[in-house]
Every structure is written in C-alpha cells, then in structure tokens.
C-alpha cells in the first residue's frame, strides 16, 4: 500500500512583517525606483547561490597544484572552472554594487591563518559563497575580529597555537575574499567530491577548519538556550 503523503508543516499565518515587506516593494515599484521584473530576476538569482561552488574550488585546489596556483593568482578565472562567472551570472551582467569582480583566494599555511570580515558593512563573495550568515553582519563580529582575532576565533571554537599568525582580511568595495584552508589529515586518496563535502561555509570565511570527520550536511547538536529570549 502506498504511503500517505504528508504535507510539510508550514506557517499558515500572514505576519505584519510579511505585509510590510510586500507593501514596501509594491510602493517602490509604483514609484519607479525599480521594476517588478528586475526585482524578480534578483530574487531568482539569490535563490540559486550558496557555498557549494567555493567548496568545490577548495577541493579542486587541494588535489590539483596547477589549479591552486591559478586560484591564488586569479580567483575570478578559477571560479569559472567551478561554474561561477562573476560578471555574467549577475542579473545586472556587470557585477553588482556589492559584488565587485575581484575575488582573492587566501591560502592558509601551517603558520598563517586567514579570516575574512567586512568592517564597513557586510561585503561578502556571494556569487561563490551565497548569502552571508547573520553573525557576519553584526557590528560585534566586525569590530572585534580585527582587534582581537584570536579571542573571537576561540569563541567560534577555533583555538590556534601561538606560533600561528592570524591575518584578518577586510573586504571592501574592490575585493572579496575566501579562505583556502589547509587540507586536513585523514583525507589522503579522497576524491574532489569527497573533499568538497567537508569544506563548510565557516571554513571558507576562516572561522573554522575542515575536518575529515565532519561533512557539510552533518546534523549539528542543538543546545537549547538556558534563558531563551521571548519577543512577545
């Protein structure tokens, strides 16, 4: 007997915030600030991007020394090999105000760890890494990572030996960055596909290190808050 199809749970309620978002958008379109079609194309594009291409770029660099040289020398050109065209993929076809076309791939070494921030706002290499996480946008992270990088990395669970230099790269209107971390032990003989599975978003920002025993889609433990915040 066929299993009964169970619909996924959904929010069956229209919130004031949902109404506000649509009202702002409709008024902006009516006033000619942008067109409905431009908006739709952006939304469609936004839903296609994520960190998988950057993970593939790192995995390819780990197994192919020539590609690694290319990635470090010309991140935009290397991106093409993992299917990302920084110029023509964008709805505007000339990059965007927030995604300028200069990707730099920062190679970690045993004595050098890179981490990425945008101290001015929240610039992020979205074409190859998707939307930034909320913490990346917060003034807390942006102010503190440049002043106390070691302490902030420790808060992410990344304790680095004292003899490892931490270099914070500040995104700006001209450049975007991703980190090429060291290939972890225990991954000898792995395929590119296997390697890509352990390169998480946080590894690519530089606040975590890839591990052979942790995949991107692993379930993470959830620890309930001791004092959960209630908004209402």
């Amino acid at each position: 007997m066929a299993e009964k199809h169970k619909p996924a749970p959904m929010v069956d309620e229209v919130s004031e915030f949902e109404i506000l978002e649509l009202a702002v958008r409709e008024l902006a379109i009516e006033k000619g600030l942008f067109s409905a079609d431009d908006h739709r194309r952006w939304a469609e594009y936004m839903e296609t991007i994520g960190p998988a291409p950057a993970a593939r770029l790192v995995a390819k660099a780990w197994v192919d020394p020539e590609f690694k040289k290319l990635a470090v020398a010309d991140g935009i050109k290397a991106s093409l090999e993992v299917g990302i065209d920084w110029i023509n993929d964008m709805p505007s076809h000339f990059g965007t105000p927030s995604d300028y076309c200069n990707l730099r791939v920062l190679e970690d070494t045993p004595k050098l760890k890179h981490v990425v921030v945008c101290t001015l706002c929240s610039c992020y290499p979205r074409p190859i890494l998707g939307q930034s996480p909320e913490w990346y946008r917060t003034p807390n992270y942006r102010r503190r990572i440049v002043r106390w990088p070691r302490q902030v990395l420790a808060e992410f669970g990344l304790q680095l030996p004292e003899d490892v230099e931490v270099r914070v790269e500040d995104s700006n209107q001209k450049s975007r960055f991703i980190v090429l971390p060291l290939r972890p032990e225990g991954t000898e003989g792995w395929s590119e596909e296997q390697l890509a599975e352990i390169v998480t978003r946080d590894c690519l920002i530089g606040v975590a290190l890839p591990r052979a025993d942790r995949k991107v889609d692993d379930k993470r433990p959830v620890h309930p808050a001791v004092k959960p915040v209630k908004h209402h």
Partner: protein, 131 residues
C-alpha cells in the same frame, strides 16, 4: 607575530553622511511591537526554515534599490541599518530588523511617506487575508 587587518586606514567614510533621523516612526513602531517574528511563527507551526519566505524578496529589494537609479546606495543603507539596529530596533531579531531599518531609511529619505505606506499595508493585509 602580527595579528593584522589589511584595511585599517583609521578613516570612517560614514562620517561624511548626513545624520539619519533615528526617532521612532509610529507605523513601524506598531509593526515592531505587534508583528510576530519568524522564530515565534516557526515554533507555533513546527517549521524549521531558518529564514522567512519574504527574506529573499527583502534582499532583492535592497539590491535593486542600489542599482539603476541608485535610490538608496548600498553602503548608506547598511550603515543606517547598523545605526538603527543598535538603537530603536535593538530588540528585534534578524531579518525583521533589516526590514524595519529599510522601511525607516526609505521614509526618512522621502522615498515614500508613512501615510501611503500605512494605506498600502492595509490593502496588502486585506488581499493576503481574503482567501
């Protein structure tokens, strides 16, 4: 050993911007106080999507406002969002506070006014809740 940033010029370009009026806007205050945030809705309905479905549209609105006519430059919007997020929208979670900050910036910049936004919200409310 040096723990360093590559862009520490000491200059903050936002200082050249005119001050944003961060005083509360009654319509947005009402949404802030009465609107149900995504976390609460998820808990009630057993949904685990990290973001509300409207977030992608909000992000798109922010992008297209910075394109073409550049009605609201991206950096200025982000700085205003930072300022408002540390002030009157501090107790609102993300991305709801991003939305409130965007609407606040647009009203204060004269891109739309509070009354017409209130009227449009009423119309949208009727439309979405009519089914």
């Amino acid at each position: 050993m040096s723990d360093s940033s590559d862009n520490d010029t000491g200059a903050d370009p936002r200082r050249t911007l005119p001050d944003l009026d961060t005083s509360p806007i009654p319509l947005l205050e009402k949404v802030r106080k009465e609107g149900r945030v995504w976390d609460d809705l998820c808990e009630q309905y057993g949904v685990d999507n990290p973001n509300p479905p409207w977030k992608v549209y909000l992000d798109s609105t922010c992008e297209v406002l910075a394109e073409h006519n550049c009605a609201l430059p991206l950096l200025e919007r982000r700085w205003e969002e930072d300022e408002l997020s540390e002030d009157i929208y501090m107790d609102v979670p993300f991305p709801e506070r991003q939305l409130l900050a965007l609407a606040h910036s647009m009203i204060r910049r004269g891109l739309m006014d509070e009354e017409e936004l209130a009227r449009r919200m009423e119309a949208v409310d009727r439309r979405l809740n009519s089914a």
